[in-house]
């Protein structure tokens, strides 16, 4: 893997990168008290559906079903098998070419692990100052412009 120069729009700095670094641009970075911030209330930006597993009856049933469908012979013995498709998806997610990758990534993510995020909203807050808006829960997966 080569190092992508910062200014190259295809890599980390481009729109595919933007999708993944939204929370950095919006939630990290310097904040100076003497400046105001534009309102982020009601912000509607592309946001990934949560894929971290949340315990609930629906989740249990869904996972039981997933186990049922799983091809047991394909996996356990030979180390966790990854379908080739996954490699490709990761590829396009990690360093997608350009704008298309943005929506591509969304599709990649909104797959099976889609779970209600409400329960996961504990907000591991790593910043000392309070945020000027509500948690990421209010951000919906919608693209502006």
């Amino acid at each position: 893997m080569t190092v992508v120069p910062a200014q190259q729009s295809g890599g980390g700095g481009g729109s595919s990168g933007l999708y993944d670094v939204l929370e950095l641009v919006l939630d990290r970075g310097l904040v100076i008290d003497a400046f105001v911030r534009v309102s982020l209330v009601g912000i509607e930006i592309l946001k990934i559906d949560i894929r971290v597993v949340v315990a609930s009856v629906d989740t249990y049933l869904r996972f039981a079903e997933a186990c049922n469908r799983l091809d047991l012979e394909a996996g356990p013995r030979k180390a966790p098998g990854l379908p080739d498709l996954v490699g490709e998806m990761t590829e396009s997610g990690a360093r997608g070419k350009s704008k298309g990758a943005l929506s591509g990534a969304a599709e990649t993510i909104s797959g099976a692990f889609k779970q209600a995020r409400e329960e996961g909203q504990g907000q591991g807050q790593t910043e000392s100052r309070p945020r000027p808006r509500k948690s990421t829960a209010s951000r919906r997966k919608e693209e502006e412009e």
Partner: protein
């Protein structure tokens, strides 16, 4: 006329993005405000600026462009000062602090790593590691899917096992990559990833950091890793005298 601020850098920065297109439609030209040894990268703040994709990108692009040639402290998106004078005033007032940050972060970039499980692969893994789950699955299959209670029971066990793996894998990712980084900043847990970790990496060491990422990929085929960088050091600008929780700037890796 209010002033949109992208970042703070040294006045001696070799190639500031003077004239580059910034936020707004049409894009407002980027200007440089100098104050002593420091400079602010600014533009006019458009009326009614909102965090639209185009503007977020513009913010990020201005910072990437200027960060490529020298250290820039990135502002959070949407920072607006009432006027240029306020900006230079802040630079003058907190000059020591910003100079210290610029020195500390000089030559370093941020890499953000996010990890999620590939569901099918992690299920295989969980089954391989847990004979009980495997047996229950087989039993349910024999029974044509199993009763509601049986499915619930199996699902509960699987979810517990997957969650345990999530936590374990998050730790693994961090511990494997940490030695290749100068500092680590763990992002909010709620943003939809089992791991969302930013690493501060020496620009010259980026290759070995990315090699470490590949190592994680190889060792954890059930993980999908998304790596973004080099980025302006968004997650490492704030510490100053008080480090925020979860940030270990200048951690001693010799112990790893």
């Amino acid at each position: 006329m209010s002033t949109y601020v992208y970042g703070i850098t040294a006045a001696s920065h070799p190639s500031l993005p003077d004239g580059m297109g910034g936020v707004g439609d049409p894009p407002r030209p980027v200007r440089i405000l100098k104050e002593g040894e420091l400079a602010a990268i600014v533009s006019e703040a458009p009326e009614g600026l909102r965090p639209k994709r185009k503007d977020l990108l513009a913010h990020q692009n201005v910072l990437s462009e200027s960060g490529a040639a020298g250290c820039v402290l990135p502002m959070r998106f949407g920072s607006v000062a009432p006027d240029d004078g306020t900006v230079t005033g802040v630079l003058a007032e907190r000059a020591d602090h910003y100079r210290e940050r610029l020195r500390t972060l000089d030559g370093k970039v941020e890499y953000n790593v996010k990890a999620i499980h590939n569901e099918e692969a992690v299920l295989h893994r969980v089954m391989a590691e847990n004979p009980e789950i495997r047996a229950l699955t087989e039993a349910n299959r024999q029974a044509g899917g199993g009763s509601y209670e049986q499915r619930l029971h199996l699902g509960e066990m699987v979810v517990a096992a997957v969650k345990a793996r999530e936590a374990e894998d998050a730790t693994d990712v961090q511990h494997t990559l940490e030695p290749a980084a100068e500092a680590v900043s763990v992002g909010p847990e709620s943003s939809g990833w089992l791991a969302n970790i930013s690493f501060l990496v020496e620009r010259d060491e980026a290759a070995s950091f990315l090699a470490a990422v590949e190592q994680v990929r190889t060792g954890h085929p059930h993980l999908e890793l998304r790596v973004n960088g080099p980025l302006p050091p968004y997650s490492f600008v704030e510490p100053g005298p008080d480090k925020p929780e979860g940030t270990t700037l200048g951690a001693d890796h010799a112990e790893e």
